[in-house]
């Protein structure tokens, strides 16, 4: 089972679009994929289930917030499997091909969980503080490892918020690999550098403190690379204004995927409302069909990189 965090320090880069479409395409190819939405905006969650269903059936006890709440309250959280749902609309397509998309929903109140988890940090002395750090930051890692041993998933994709709070750190530490969606513009490419730095510091801290705890293995999440999103195509290639940032990122030595996600408001704007990622839709030959083909090509490249 591969565990991949999808994150960029910059918001609005198409992270949820990438996550949902990669999961859908892989499930369409017969894979079992689990999505964990750790972004309090819950965009990924609402790409697969309606807000009213979430409110009625899942909000109170079936979200990643409920799982973290158990930790905040000082108790051992239940297995992650207890929080998994199988969204109907997307699965009605992928199950015909032997695949499955499961989801652990997010919660709009997840933003407050960080404050509660932060109260568990600290300690009477430095050693105690370090042990508490491991305990708080390594919880999701342990839970995902348990899930890997007890489930049939081929891939877990963790959709992370554009910050580096305790929940996000849990997600990064739980992952073996990191996928960075980025728009090829000035600020989004700065977000890639912020992320590199933050991941490096997090891994160093965790591994230093992990030496004190014989039950905790060191971590080494690898950055898979950057997938460029919201690409505007003219004459069969990205427009010059975007090409310069793609080239610049490559020159800085960052691994980048060749395939990309194209900008297309017509099909991406209402896809979440239909609860089916665009890659599962069939379009007549033309631009829309090309967008889907490009996503399929990216997923092939992504799978090879795992």
């Amino acid at each position: 089972m591969d565990i991949v965090a999808v994150i960029n320090y910059k918001g609005g880069v198409g992270k949820t679009t990438v996550t949902s479409n990669v999961a859908a395409e892989l499930a369409f190819r017969g894979k079992k994929v689990l999505l964990i939405d750790t972004d309090a905006q819950a965009s990924l969650t609402f790409s697969f289930i309606t807000p009213d269903k979430w409110d009625k059936d899942y909000k109170d006890s079936m979200t990643i917030k409920s799982w973290f709440d158990a930790i905040s309250q000082g108790s051992e959280p239940p297995p992650l499997a207890d929080f998994v749902i199988t969204p109907a609309a997307a699965n009605s397509v992928v199950k015909l091909h032997g695949g499955r998309i499961d989801l652990i929903c997010s919660h709009l109140g997840l933003i407050n969980v960080d404050l509660e988890l932060a109260t568990l940090l600290g300690g009477a002395n430095l050693n105690q503080s370090k042990k508490n750090y491991i305990k708080v930051h390594g919880k999701l890692r342990a839970a995902v490892a348990h899930l890997a041993a007890t489930s049939d998933y081929d891939l877990v994709l963790i959709d992370c918020p554009p910050n580096f709070n305790i929940v996000t750190k849990n997600a990064i530490l739980a992952s073996e690999k990191i996928l960075i969606p980025a728009k090829p513009d000035f600020l989004s490419t700065l977000g890639i550098d912020y992320l590199h730095r933050s991941v490096k510091e997090l891994v160093n801290d965790f591994n230093e403190y992990a030496e004190l705890d014989k039950n905790t293995e060191p971590v080494d999440p690898q950055i898979l690379g950057v997938v460029f999103t919201m690409i505007q195509i003219t004459s069969g290639k990205p427009i010059a204004a975007q090409r310069q940032f793609i080239s610049q990122t490559k020159r800085l030595g960052v691994n980048t995927f060749t395939e990309y996600f194209r900008e297309n408001k017509t099909i991406f704007a209402d896809a979440p409302q239909n609860l089916r990622p665009v890659v599962l839709n069939r379009y007549s030959p033309g631009t829309h069909s090309d967008v889907v083909k490009e996503i399929e090509k990216f997923v092939t490249e992504f799978s090879a990189a795992l």
């Binding site: 700065l190 550098d193 010059a240 090409r243 310069q244 080239s247 610049q248």
Partner: protein
């Protein structure tokens, strides 16, 4: 800088030549106080000057040199010393995928090249905390 009487004569002769080449309309503008007068000197391309577009090798050489400098000032000096014209800077900019706007002057292109190479590296190292000043 004018140092001798001979230099002064040469300057006046060139001014006279420039005036001679003006159209009647332009000459009447010179007499009209509503117009201001501005003298602009443009470098003339000699027959021995390197061909427009520079060879692919020299573009690579300049990019290699830019990769080895560590400050924007060093990069600017490098491009200044090379005294590249706009036409010679354009293939370098194209190689870097920098959008070229027609109204860009050589100076603007130089700035864009510096920012896309050394500038980008400095920004990245600064944010990642790996830059040593």
């Amino acid at each position: 800088m004018i140092k001798t009487e001979k230099d002064l004569v040469a300057v006046i002769r060139r001014l006279a030549e420039a005036l001679e080449s003006l159209s009647g309309e332009d000459l009447s503008k010179l007499c009209d106080p509503a117009y201001t007068l501005e003298i602009k000197a443009t470098r003339r391309r000699s027959k021995d000057a390197p061909p427009v577009g520079h060879s692919a090798v020299s573009v690579e050489q300049i990019l290699d040199q830019l990769a080895s400098v560590s400050t924007r000032d060093e990069a600017q000096s490098l491009l200044d010393l090379s005294a590249l014209s706009k036409k010679q800077l354009e293939p370098i900019a194209r190689k870097l995928d920098i959008p070229i706007v027609k109204i860009d002057k050589a100076e603007a292109l130089r700035d864009k090249i510096v920012e896309a190479t050394v500038g980008a590296r400095i920004r990245s190292q600064t944010i990642q905390g790996t830059r040593t000043s």
